[in-house]
């Protein structure tokens, strides 16, 4: 081969499936942290976050204050983008494709079409194929995950119940998704059509999962992670990375807890390291019993 720096540069394809899912691959084994100020974003980066989620209010405050929760102010998102060198994500309301367009224009690295915000459409999610920026969506079960992937989501996160500091719902959702994937791999080719019907998902995607034994996109976990042990629990169950919302900045010592959760996520299978990093972190966020909640965020999404 001759000189590689040819005058005509090779064609570059942006916004491809591989590029979108590829960023999710790079975030694996990491912790994505909710932040509401540039200062919190710096603390998250210092602690080893792989990305931050820029928000006006963390889910625990959205729950407490009520009202309609919308996309954050672009000015805040821009300040957070300038404060850190790691990827920045931001949330759009379910079905609110204009909020997503704005987030893409701001240069956000991932859009979370999120049930934590008040839904804008009661029947439709965003057509995510129409965007260059990749999307992450929540799911409580395999059918919901595959519907979001069919709409173009490049990453799935189990929903859990955001803002509760209670891991029980995230565990339920992960077990449901991963348990059904395990069952699907045992189905014969005729049974896959019934699976598609039951899951309300395209048969092509159902067949792909049956053949590979995994979702076509990375599966992360969100909603209720408050301790290093919570993070390691969902990683051992099969999550590939974790989102921590209220769990860090609603705790007594956010910087320390954030770093501990990062280390626990990396060494999720090593109880000695987990014991070491879990020591002396101060109080975790207070948390809530699921039965005491007025609003179940995980029920949003169709």
């Amino acid at each position: 081969m001759t000189e590689s720096a040819t005058p005509s540069a090779p064609a570059r394809d942006t916004g491809t499936t591989r590029v979108k899912r590829g960023l999710a691959e790079m975030l694996k084994g990491g912790v994505i942290m909710d932040v509401v100020t540039p200062e919190q974003a710096k603390i998250a980066e210092d602690a080893g976050a792989v990305a931050v989620m820029a928000l006006e209010r963390v889910p625990a405050d959205i729950r407490r204050e009520g009202g309609v929760a919308r996309m954050s102010d672009p000015e805040l998102i821009e300040q957070i983008i300038s404060a850190v060198t790691i990827p920045v994500m931001a949330k759009a309301r379910i079905g609110h494709f204009v909020e997503a367009q704005i987030l893409q224009a701001l240069g956000v690295d991932y859009v979370d079409e999120s049930e934590v915000l008040t839904p804008a459409d009661e029947a439709h999610h965003i057509d995510k194929w129409a965007f260059t920026v990749p999307f992450v969506c929540g799911a409580t079960n395999l059918g919901e995950a595959l519907r979001r992937i069919s709409e173009g989501a490049a990453m799935i996160r189990s929903k859990g119940e955001a803002g509760t500091g209670n891991i029980v719902e995230a565990v339920r959702h992960l077990r449901s998704i991963l348990g059904d994937i395990r069952k699907l791999t045992q189905a014969d080719s005729a049974e896959l059509y019934d699976w598609a019907k039951q899951l309300r998902a395209p048969v092509e995607l159902v067949r792909e999962v049956a053949e590979t034994g995994r979702l076509p996109v990375p599966l992360f976990c969100a909603g209720g992670i408050a301790t290093p042990a919570d993070a390691a629990l969902v990683m051992q169950l099969g999550a590939e990375a974790v989102f921590v919302g209220s769990g860090i900045f609603k705790s007594e010592d956010p910087a320390r807890r954030a770093k501990a959760i990062v280390e626990a996520t990396a060494h999720y299978d090593d109880p000695e390291i987990l014991a070491k990093v879990s020591r002396g972190l101060g109080e975790a966020m207070r948390g809530a019993e699921i039965d005491s909640l007025d609003v179940r965020l995980a029920e949003r999404g169709w």
Binding site: M1, S4, P10, R12, L23, G29, G48, V50, D109
Partner: protein
């Protein structure tokens, strides 16, 4: 010859798959004991700041630095290239650079995720046509020392370099379907 893949954070599993396709039997490296058991190492893509922090907290950083200084073969992609370089621009001041390759690397040099791209990349001396390369918030090499061979460029800027037993790529050969760069690395190692 045993090849390890640093598995603290990032796309380590994809490297394991690709190395297996290229004929190796790779193992994951998370602790100093894991590192002591391997003869060569792959540093995957991920967040270089996170991996750097975890290298320190897990006690791997100094051990890895010593092994690299001893001439251990290494292959770094994206974040891995940043870690193996001599100097990083637009990084964090506490970010580790092992200096296994005499290059200065700029982080996120092509822009944000919406600018991430894939392209066919001609590689110097590699048979079988261009490599299909995936660049994700990718770094670029801004300056190379005299010992460094530049194997591929984008816009005239180096994105694949080799110095002795160390190979670095700004892109992600582990995300494609082409094991030739992993084979190249293994052929240098063996």
């Amino acid at each position: 010859m045993k090849v390890g893949v640093l598995a603290l954070q990032g796309a380590s599993a994809r490297h394991v798959d690709m190395l297996a396709r290229a004929g190796a039997a790779p193992v994951e490296v998370r602790t100093p004991a894991d590192l002591d058991a391997v003869d060569a190492i792959v540093l995957p893509g991920g967040e270089s700041t996170t991996i750097s922090m975890l290298l320190e907290s897990s006690g791997l950083a100094d051990r890895l630095a010593a092994r690299l200084a001893d001439g251990m073969p290494a292959f770094g992609t994206c974040a891995g290239m940043i870690l193996l370089g001599r100097e990083v621009l637009d990084g964090r001041p506490d970010q580790r650079c092992f200096g296994a390759v005499d290059v200065t690397v700029r982080r996120n040099a092509f822009g944000r995720q919406v600018d991430s791209f894939e392209a066919d990349l001609p590689v110097e001396g590699l048979a079988g046509g261009p490599v299909h390369a995936v660049f994700i918030r990718a770094p670029v090499v801004e300056a190379v020392g005299p010992e460094v061979e530049v194997l591929a460029t984008v816009d005239g800027r180096p994105v694949l370099c080799r110095q002795g037993p160390v190979l670095v790529a700004a892109f992600h050969p582990e995300l494609g379907d082409d094991p030739r760069l992993h084979e190249l690395f293994l052929s240098e190692v063996v």
